[in-house]
């Protein structure tokens, strides 16, 4: 318990540092958002409007940096991340709210699927090392060696153009309005299958290889030999003794990769024009939309931290040696 509290304190401190940096960096850049907004409207904006924009962005010159910092925290805690330039005047929070679920569903589910599938295959291949099962590795490694955008494009060319089984782009049928109807959900799943498939194909090899190598290492540990000598059923030795210990490095790798889900696989969402965080971030960078980028970076930073924390907890649950007692 004390271990978890200490970790939690550490993560709070890290989160504070990340948020503060997120506040400072845009303020150290030359220029300010209002000027870029004025530039965007090419002077067709009145002086009063400019002034009210400064106040709206919290950039009225009189305020000290400290006061701005306090205000920034106040806004943050009330869920106000400012307004987007590119989609002015939509609040950044709304854009994140719209795009986050898509990324979480697509990349999140395919990452989990890839991890589970890869780890299970890795256990099996590692346990049967030296047999024909080893032949699986070159195949999956070949798939992961192909640049991702190329797999995506090939998948679209084959499964959306040559045989139009799947849609080539978008997150749902353009004729539908996002809602919780079975029709819409069905359409969303249907649109997600092809990108999910490409993500799994390109990432599964890493999990297989990592797990396989750990299985081979752990299989020669004395406690695995003891388990055999005890006459335990082979499945029990494979799962409870070998895989249970071999999975530890993979679990922390998995938790870290969870953090990058929110960053989205930028390329996936671009190739499939998928309405997730990655695609929106790409748009924001193109439009020099600082508030939106800042909002995304905040979300990405926080989710990496949360993922790290989950990794710590998972590790403490799985490996008794990391729990510090007393």
């Amino acid at each position: 318990m004390r271990y978890l509290l200490r970790r939690a304190a550490f993560y709070l401190l890290t989160a504070w540092a990340a948020i503060t940096l997120n506040f400072l960096i845009p303020r150290m850049l030359p220029g300010d958002p209002v000027r870029s907004l004025i530039a965007r409207f090419q002077g067709r904006i009145s002086v009063e409007a400019t002034e009210s924009l400064y106040i709206l962005f919290g950039l009225d010159e009189q305020k000290s940096l400290w006061q701005q910092y306090l205000d920034y925290w106040g806004n943050l805690l009330s869920g106000n991340l400012g307004l987007s330039f590119a989609y002015f005047p939509t609040p950044v929070v709304d854009i994140i709210e719209q795009s986050l679920p898509w990324t979480l569903a697509l990349v999140g589910l395919s990452t989990i699927l890839s991890f589970v599938l890869g780890t299970m295959l890795g256990v099996w291949v590692g346990w049967r090392r030296g047999t024909w099962a080893d032949g699986l590795l070159p195949v999956t490694n070949f798939l992961s060696a192909i640049p991702y955008f190329w797999i995506g494009l090939i998948a679209i060319a084959v499964f959306a153009v040559a045989w139009p089984i799947f849609p080539a782009s978008g997150g749902f049928d353009p004729g539908l309005i996002p809602s919780a109807t079975p029709e819409f959900i069905g359409s969303a799943i249907y649109h997600g299958l092809l990108p999910a498939f490409t993500i799994v194909i390109s990432s599964v090899a890493g999990w297989i290889l990592g797990m396989r190598n750990m299985m081979v290492t752990v299989s020669s540990e004395d406690y695995v030999t003891v388990a055999h000598a005890k006459g335990l059923p082979e499945r029990r030795v494979m799962i409870g003794y070998a895989a249970r210990n071999a999975v530890l490095p993979n679990v922390s790798g998995f938790a870290l990769s969870l953090g990058f889900i929110v960053g989205g696989t930028l390329v996936t969402e671009m190739v499939f024009t998928y309405p997730g965080i990655g695609y929106m971030l790409f748009q924001a960078v193109g439009a020099k939309d600082y508030p939106l980028m800042q909002g995304f970076f905040l979300i990405i930073t926080l989710s990496v931290l949360v993922a790290n924390m989950l990794a710590d907890i998972a590790y403490a649950v799985l490996d008794p040696r990391t729990r510090q007692e007393g």
Partner: protein
């Protein structure tokens, strides 16, 4: 002295590697363990002691391959008799731990780091005695820990919370979980300090008197075996070179290698004396000498020793020492081989 044979190892050969480069690490090893006996297996590092234990229980890790021989286990409790090497995987699994339990060399790594001690003690019981309730299993685990002098509340400990000596005692308790007829101990005390070593061996001797299992005790420490074992087999370069009762071996070693081993540790009593090692190093198993494998290091080697390999046979004194076997042409040399300093004791 001893009862019926429990484990008969016949012509067991083991190779490491798959093709022409394979190294023969065990060559036609013959060894019989009788009921209630403590058989010591001694020899230098790399002579094949551990390989023998792993091969006889079919736990040999790749690339080790058993290329021939048989290992026949005869139960003393019922009339089961089977060859471990030809048994099917399921038969083998059913008999493991039930008939033959093993305490491994690496006490530190023999316990699964992510499971509590209790779970590791009970999972062998639940695999072999599925009819027992969880409560019975737990009680048995507590009883086992108590047997080796560890309080029962340690059942909830993880291996990393125990000291090395405790872990080794847990391993011994685990080996006795199903009351096996045979316990193989592969250097069980090597990683421990002498005090702990003494304690554990004492405990082991007590448990053996109480439970009456047979023991194969593997170690490079001959002095330990002389005290502990009923019979000692000395291995050299993948073969057994001498097989005799502990006292015979101690008083009249017939093989020059045994003689050398006995001279390589200091006696606690008697006059101070120079320790004699065995000159040279064990032969390369890839290119063994044509004759006796020990001939290049032997002080008394004859021309014959370099051309012919002596078989493990009864000695010239077979009427006096019927169970004794030695692989040396000069087994009739009685007086020369007795270490003078050790006879005084």
């Amino acid at each position: 002295m001893t009862g019926e044979p429990v484990l008969e190892i016949r012509n067991l050969s083991v190779e490491y590697g798959y093709d022409a480069d394979a190294v023969r690490v065990l060559r036609d090893v013959n060894l019989t363990l009788h009921a209630g006996e403590v058989l010591g297996l001694a020899g230098e590092s790399g002579c094949g002691k551990s390989t023998l234990a792993y091969a006889a229980t079919r736990l040999l890790p790749p690339p080790g391959i058993i290329t021939g021989g048989e290992v026949v286990f005869t139960s003393t409790r019922d009339d089961r008799r089977y060859d471990l090497l030809t048994a099917t995987d399921d038969e083998l699994r059913a008999t493991r731990w039930e008939d033959t339990a093993i305490v491994f060399q690496g006490a530190m790594n023999s316990l699964n780091p992510v499971y509590r001690i209790g779970r590791q003690l009970t999972d062998a019981i639940s695999a072999h005695r599925p009819e027992q309730s969880a409560r019975q299993r737990r009680d048995r685990a507590a009883e086992l820990l108590d047997m080796v002098g560890i309080p029962a509340d340690r059942l909830r400990s993880y291996p990393h919370q125990l000291s090395g000596g405790m872990r080794q005692r847990v391993m011994i308790a685990m080996a006795l979980a199903l009351e096996p007829q045979l316990v193989i101990m592969d250097e069980p005390t090597t990683a421990l300090d002498v005090v702990m070593q003494r304690q554990i061996l004492q405990q082991l001797a007590d448990l053996r008197t109480r439970l009456g299992f047979s023991v194969v005790f593997i170690t490079h420490d001959v002095s330990l075996l002389i005290e502990l074992a009923d019979r000692i087999a000395v291995m050299y370069a993948g073969e057994i070179v001498e097989d005799a009762t502990a006292s015979q071996m101690y008083r009249t070693p017939r093989h020059p290698y045994t003689d050398g081993l006995l001279h390589s540790f200091p006696p606690l009593h008697g006059p101070r004396q120079e320790l004699g090692g065995i000159p040279g190093a064990p032969p390369d198993l890839m290119s063994l000498p044509r004759g006796c494998t020990f001939a290049p290091r032997c002080r008394v080697a004859l021309d014959r020793c370099r051309d012919e390999r002596p078989a493990l046979t009864a000695t010239a004194f077979a009427d006096r020492e019927p169970h004794r076997r030695v692989a040396c042409f000069q087994h009739e040399r009685e007086a020369a081989a007795i270490p003078p300093s050790l006879t005084v004791m």
